[in-house]
């Protein structure tokens, strides 16, 4: 990584002095604080001058090593601390789990590192890792798995030995399988305890459809039915070197590490399968208000719209548009109106991430006391509408674009970040499609115009298609406020539908928890 910058503070003090001399306005000088060293502190921050900071995005090619024994690795040496950090990303996920075995990815992913190896019981493995103060973890999510190891560089060889054995000869010890199943079962029982969990789950159903693979949930029966054989098969199918991408950073020499990685992946004892493509058959719900009744004094609201993929040509335009609408925190419109103006919510936001494999969902959300849920929702909908009715201001454009450009170096602040950003790009195919993504990032942000923002707002956030999910106390939420008589049913062109809670162990709707729609 090349990063050159100059930041002498004497230089910036000097710059401030020059600036004041240049202004030479009496009224300005009067209000300035002359201090001992004779330079003045300006009244406003834009009067400060800063030395330039040049930052070049690191180039992935510099760290990229296609290993002979399978995976591509990103190798980033860094001698600052006596630590090594290794992450192995795996093409696998819950989408590859057969119907009826939901939870298999979670069990296999967790137990790989926790279930022992051929030469070590789970207990012996845990003890040894603890004594070395090494952190070994594994996990399989929706469409990616990972095994990670963070340890002191003096223990690297022993750690790599353990890593190899964990990935090639895991023990999946029976008592650990039984315990993990029990933990999953008890975690399931909490599915209706937090309104936030209910909201996240139902938002997924509404935005992608109940049949979509990502909305299949483990049940008591599916977890109960998973055998050790299922776990072993799932592991052997997907955990093989050419299905990996590796990120490694820390205290080592590059060439030595490359050789160690070659050894790590050499002579793998089994061959796996090539994973099928990730299904993209999402189904977005009909416009309307969807309500889940839950006895809490604050309602949670998610306003949903179909999203985009991140390779969409409008991706950068959408980034800026959403930043101005609700993505930019305290500089965004939704936060300003819902929180700062009205005091109606603590958190109020919108998010419009580009999906990697299929379009992800646009979400605008907040939490407000039951009686102001409908009113606050109407404010957010109105902000979305305003976004489509005209261009943003110059001030908004400037804050958003400068923000993205000036904080860009933060993406690469640590060597761990560098190794993992590039490994992820390799894993998701972005490196192959757009190898200069990060080199071009700031120029692409710079190129976004006010017209682009208005156009993508009209294209993607028109409020007439919104699906509005509300989780909270129905009796109070459906009451209007004396001073703001807006009701839930007035907010959407679609109907108000009450959704039932789901039985946490079967995920089947619980009869009687939904009543006839509030009209």
């Amino acid at each position: 990584m090349k990063s050159r910058y100059n930041h002498s503070h004497w230089m910036s003090v000097f710059a401030a002095l020059v600036m004041i001399a240049g202004l030479g306005i009496g009224s300005c000088a009067r209000s300035q604080n002359l201090t001992a060293n004779g330079t003045a502190i300006p009244k406003r921050p834009e009067q400060l001058k800063f030395p330039p900071l040049t930052f070049e995005a690191p180039s992935p090619a510099k760290f990229r090593v296609p290993l002979k024994n399978g995976p591509v690795a990103y190798v980033v040496p860094d001698k600052e601390l006596p630590l090594v950090n290794i992450v192995i990303y795996v093409h696998t996920g819950s989408y590859l789990v057969p119907d009826g075995k939901e939870g298999l990815n979670e069990l296999a992913g967790y137990l790989l590192a926790r279930g022992g190896t051929k030469s070590k019981t789970a207990e012996a493995l845990e003890e040894r890792l603890a004594f070395l103060a090494a952190q070994l973890n594994s996990n399989i999510g929706d469409n990616q798995g990972s095994v990670s190891l963070n340890l002191l560089s003096k223990d690297l060889d022993e750690g790599l030995g353990i890593l190899r054995e964990v990935m090639t000869e895991p023990r999946f010890q029976d008592n650990k399988i039984a315990l993990r199943k029990q933990q999953l079962l008890q975690a399931m029982k909490q599915r209706n305890d937090e309104s936030e969990a209910i909201e996240a789950r139902e938002a997924g159903f509404l935005a992608q459809g109940e049949k979509f693979w990502a909305n299949r949930y483990p049940t008591a029966a599916s977890v109960e039915g998973i055998t050790r054989g299922d776990i072993e098969d799932f592991h052997k199918k997907w955990f093989y070197p050419s299905n990996f991408v590796v990120a490694v950073n820390g205290d080592f020499d590059r060439d030595t590490m490359v050789q160690k990685l070659e050894n790590l992946f050499a002579n793998w004892p089994f061959q796996g399968e090539k994973p099928s493509p990730i299904p993209t058959n999402t189904l977005f719900a009909k416009p309307g208000v969807y309500l889940v009744d839950k006895d809490v004094n604050q309602g949670r609201v998610s306003i949903l719209l179909p999203g985009i993929k991140r390779d969409n040509p409008d991706y950068f335009n959408v980034l800026i548009m959403n930043d101005i609408l609700g993505g930019g925190g305290f500089t965004s419109r939704i936060m300003n109106s819902v929180r700062s103006d009205e005091g109606l919510a603590y958190s109020a936001y919108s998010s419009f991430p580009g999906g990697v494999y299929y379009p992800s969902t646009f979400t605008a959300g907040f939490q407000s006391k039951s009686r102001t849920v409908a009113y606050a929702t109407s404010i957010v909908i109105n902000e979305m509408k305003k976004m489509t009715e005209g261009p943003p201001t110059d001030v908004e454009m400037n804050i958003s674009k400068r923000g993205y450009i000036d904080r860009f170096p933060r993406q690469f602040a640590t060597k761990t970040q560098i190794a993992n950003i590039f490994a992820q790009d390799e894993f998701t195919g972005r490196y192959a499609r757009d190898p200069e993504f990060w080199q071009k990032f700031r120029a692409r942000i710079e190129a976004v115009t006010k017209g682009d923002v208005e156009r993508v707002a009209r294209k993607f956030v028109a409020p007439d298609k919104t699906v509005i999910l509300v989780v909270g106390q129905k009796s109070d939420i459906t009451m209007t406020l004396p001073e703001h008589p807006v009701a839930l049913k007035d907010i959407s062109s679609g109907p108000v539908t009450e959704l039932p809670l789901r039985d946490p162990l079967t995920m089947k709707p619980i009869a009687g928890t939904e009543k006839s729609a509030a009209k």
Partner: protein, 517 residues
């Protein structure tokens, strides 16, 4: 149990907590801190680190909810929110008019407060059921509220909304946030390395001449924060009750976010008074970590921060000490949660000589290779998960342990299992290998915490806020020096029956079906 309220939803503190639970080492790495005291009493800590072109800057005001009193609980946290509302030149187009409107708003609010007194009296007589209900406000209050809202509308014309955030965002600032705990209020952000002077400008201005505009809307925001974190979560209200029950005399008994009655009653005048005492420079520590030159930074800090005059009075010390608990206290809670037990013992505050042995003890009991997991999760199988931690706060501390019961087992069985493990530790010293394993973990974490600017800043904030930043370099040695005898001694001394408070949680309702209604 340590409640931290942050201004925004942030994963940062979680990340920090995770990194704190990490490794340890015999030859710990020192954090090279330069300490300077400015002429006005403000402390400045600096850690030069040239690994990335940024500076993480933060400051600790040595004030938290433990400096409050009944009636104004939550004011330290509300104040944290107000510090983002701008200054005389940031946040408004017309300072004079802004001040005039704020003055008029206060006059209306004074009258509203008189009505609120009447409403509270009516509530005490049982004439109204809920002070928050719009229908329960007196006609006079509603009339005044209309008048107040007109003033808000006037103010909006000259307001530059969230300009403090705008300035930082436009200049590449990231992760701006703040938190309030019982012991401290801290503010932090990361700026590009070339913008250190912007940080100096912004932070000195908001300490020197903050303007608490939009005070009453922000009070409502804080109440929504309370609903979000406390009222609407399965355990929020129970945790609050457990804290209130635990602390006998030290002012940790009320929630950081404040009692529901106090948050809407805090006045701007009370906030002004609070600022005068607790935001004086001699009560503040500034901390910078990152890519700068120390000497030049000292000069710049003197220039910006020495403009702020030393406060006339030092903040008063908290004099009340925790009294000894003489009898076990128990809480039986029915909540929307799996059955579990949470046990707390009174122990020692930050920096106490026994706190290191208690930290080692916590590590011996917790983690997957710890005694509770081996004994209760893998062994007797009464629990599916267990934990233990020493929480050393500024004025007092506690030791916390507990776990979730396995289906078919009760919280009381988990509780008995925890006590059985503790009894073993009282009778027999921890073997050398086990003690070394735990110490190795502490030693390795001395390195892991140094991975980037922000985690280093957060460690310094935490240590300085609880009492002394030097602990960041001293604690490691003290932990390595803990002996098996020390551990046995602190278990016997603190983990006793009369010294504990126990929360037993069972699931509300007898079945999931009823749960759903």
């Amino acid at each position: 149990m340590h409640l931290i309220i942050s201004k925004r939803i942030s994963k940062l503190l979680f990340v920090l907590a995770t990194s704190l639970m990490a490794v340890h080492f015999a030859s710990a790495q020192k954090v090279p801190v330069t300490e300077v005291t400015l002429d006005n009493g403000m402390k400045l800590l600096m850690v030069e680190r040239h690994d990335e072109p940024s500076v993480s800057g933060g400051w600790v005001a040595h004030v938290g909810s433990s400096n409050e009193r009944p009636g104004i609980t939550g004011i330290a946290h509300l104040f944290e929110h107000m510090m983002f509302k701008g200054t005389e030149t940031i946040g408004t187009k017309d300072y004079q008019k802004d001040q005039q409107i704020i003055l008029e708003q206060e006059q209306v609010r004074d009258e509203m407060r008189k009505e609120e007194e009447k409403m509270r009296a009516a509530y005490r007589r049982g004439e109204i059921d809920d002070l928050m209900k719009p229908e329960n406000k007196t006609p006079r209050w509603q009339e005044l509220n209309k008048k107040f809202n007109e003033l808000i509308t006037q103010q909006r014309d000259i307001l530059v909304k969230n300009e403090f955030d705008q300035v930082y965002t436009e200049q590449g600032g990231t992760g701006m946030n703040a938190f309030t705990s019982q012991d401290m209020t801290a503010y932090f952000i990361t700026v590009p390395a070339n913008k250190l002077e912007l940080w100096m400008w912004m932070e000195s201005e908001r300490i020197r001449r903050p303007v608490f505009r939009e005070f009453y809307a922000e009070r409502d925001v804080v109440f929504e924060e309370r609903r979000m974190r406390t009222d609407s979560t399965p355990l929020g209200k129970f945790t609050e009750e457990a804290e209130a029950m635990f602390w006998e005399s030290v002012p940790y008994g009320w929630p950081v976010v404040g009692w529901p009655s106090d948050i809407p009653a805090i006045s701007k005048a009370q906030a002004d008074e609070f600022y005068g005492i607790y935001y004086a420079p001699q009560n503040i520590t500034m901390i910078l970590v990152g890519d700068f030159k120390t000497n030049a930074t000292i000069a710049l800090a003197k220039k910006y921060f020495e403009r702020i005059p030393r406060g006339k009075k030092d903040a008063p010390d908290v004099r009340t000490l925790e009294v000894s608990q003489v009898a076990e206290k128990r809480m039986y809670a029915e909540a929307e949660t799996n059955p579990q037990v949470d046990i707390n013992w009174h122990t020692v505050p930050f920096g106490h000589k026994d706190s290191y042995a208690l930290q080692v003890l916590a590590q011996i009991l917790s983690t997957r290779t710890g005694r509770l997991y081996k004994g209760l999760v893998m062994g007797s199988q009464v629990a599916t998960d267990t934990y233990a931690a020493q929480d050393s706060r500024k004025w007092a501390g506690l030791f916390n342990a507990g776990g979730e019961a396995k289906d078919g087992k009760t919280p009381e069985e988990v509780e008995a299992g925890v006590y059985a493990e503790i009894e073993k530790l009282k009778k027999e010293e921890v073997p050398p290998e086990e003690l070394q394993k735990v110490k190795n973990d502490f030693a390795a974490s001395e390195y892991r915490r140094l991975s980037s600017n922000m985690p280093i800043l957060m460690h310094l904030i935490q240590n300085e806020g609880e009492g002394d930043w030097r602990e960041i370099n001293e604690a490691g040695k003290k932990i390595q020096a803990v002996t098996a005898g020390d551990v046995q001694r602190v278990v016997n001394k603190y983990l006793t029956k009369e010294n504990r408070v126990v929360g037993v949680y069972t699931r509300k309702g007898s079945s999931q079906k009823q749960e759903g209604k």
